[in-house]
Symmetry: C2
Subunit: 164 residues, 2 copies
């Protein structure tokens, strides 16, 4: 079940974000980011934030926001995190499909992931399967804590069936 995040979900969302950000091997986020800054980035700044529930527990979360302003405001950006215990159960796929529908409801025409690490092979594979294309390769754009410099991919999917 995927539903909008509520104010009372902040602790559960932080429990998902913290290990991912602290590890510093998938998101371009300062590993020392504070709880407040992380929740502001994930919940307050975006257009909307959702959580995935399973057996009453929050096992995943995603945000949707406008990727660029002005003439770029028809393209949204999303970030997804699934808790370690719930991985491999299709939750990231469900959240991505959900987010594509929400994006259209919010008036976006396209979705862009700005910084998918090539080393995050599961993510690259899943986004490709869900219709995203590699629009660009940012060479050595990320210094991975174990792998050293790795490439990041820009992935995009045009969502709207109408325009242009």
């Amino acid at each position: 079940m995927i539903r909008p995040a509520r104010a009372s979900d902040r602790a559960a969302i932080w429990a998902l974000l913290e290990p991912v950000f602290r590890a510093g091997d998938t998101y371009a986020v300062d590993p020392d980011i504070s709880r407040d800054d992380a929740l502001n980035m994930w919940i307050d700044a975006p257009k909307a934030t959702f959580v995935a529930e399973h057996d009453g527990a929050i096992v995943g979360t995603y945000y949707i926001k406008t990727n660029q302003n002005g003439g770029g405001a028809h393209v949204c950006n999303c970030g997804y995190i699934v808790g370690p215990a719930a991985r491999g159960q299709g939750i990231a796929k469900s959240m991505c499909l959900h987010s594509q529908e929400k994006a259209l409801n919010l008036g976006y025409l396209s979705m862009q992931f700005n910084f998918v690490l090539e080393s995050n092979a599961d993510a690259v594979h899943l986004w490709t399967k869900l219709g995203f294309s590699i629009a660009g390769r940012l060479q050595k754009a990320f210094k991975h804590p174990q792998l050293g410099f790795v490439d990041a991919l820009v992935m995009t999917k045009w969502l709207s069936r109408e325009i242009p």
Copy 2:
């Protein structure tokens, strides 16, 4: 002459930014952005901001900032604006060369432009001439007020001679 922006330059910098942002045909900025928000974005949020002076007048400005946090923090991003009366005099080129040197001084290894409109042919040409490569093409990522949907390019240049 290119020098760091001072608090007393804010009015002159806004005079450069305002017509560019209001036109909405080159930067992915809300055309209705307020003076305060624009100056915050250009001067306060970035790592550093510079102005180009000619005959005692400020004719150009650029900022330099960290493009991504965490493992992406070795890549900087810059934005440049030259006033209409001073275009075609090599000021953008001078500022870009200046920014590449400053980037290295600040410890960055690489520079990325996230959103160069293909319709801004002069910019694409200049950045290419100055050693930037097209790392990606964001199809129809910008709705140009006159041209409709246009592509945006991601352009990158590795600056450091040492690493990796």
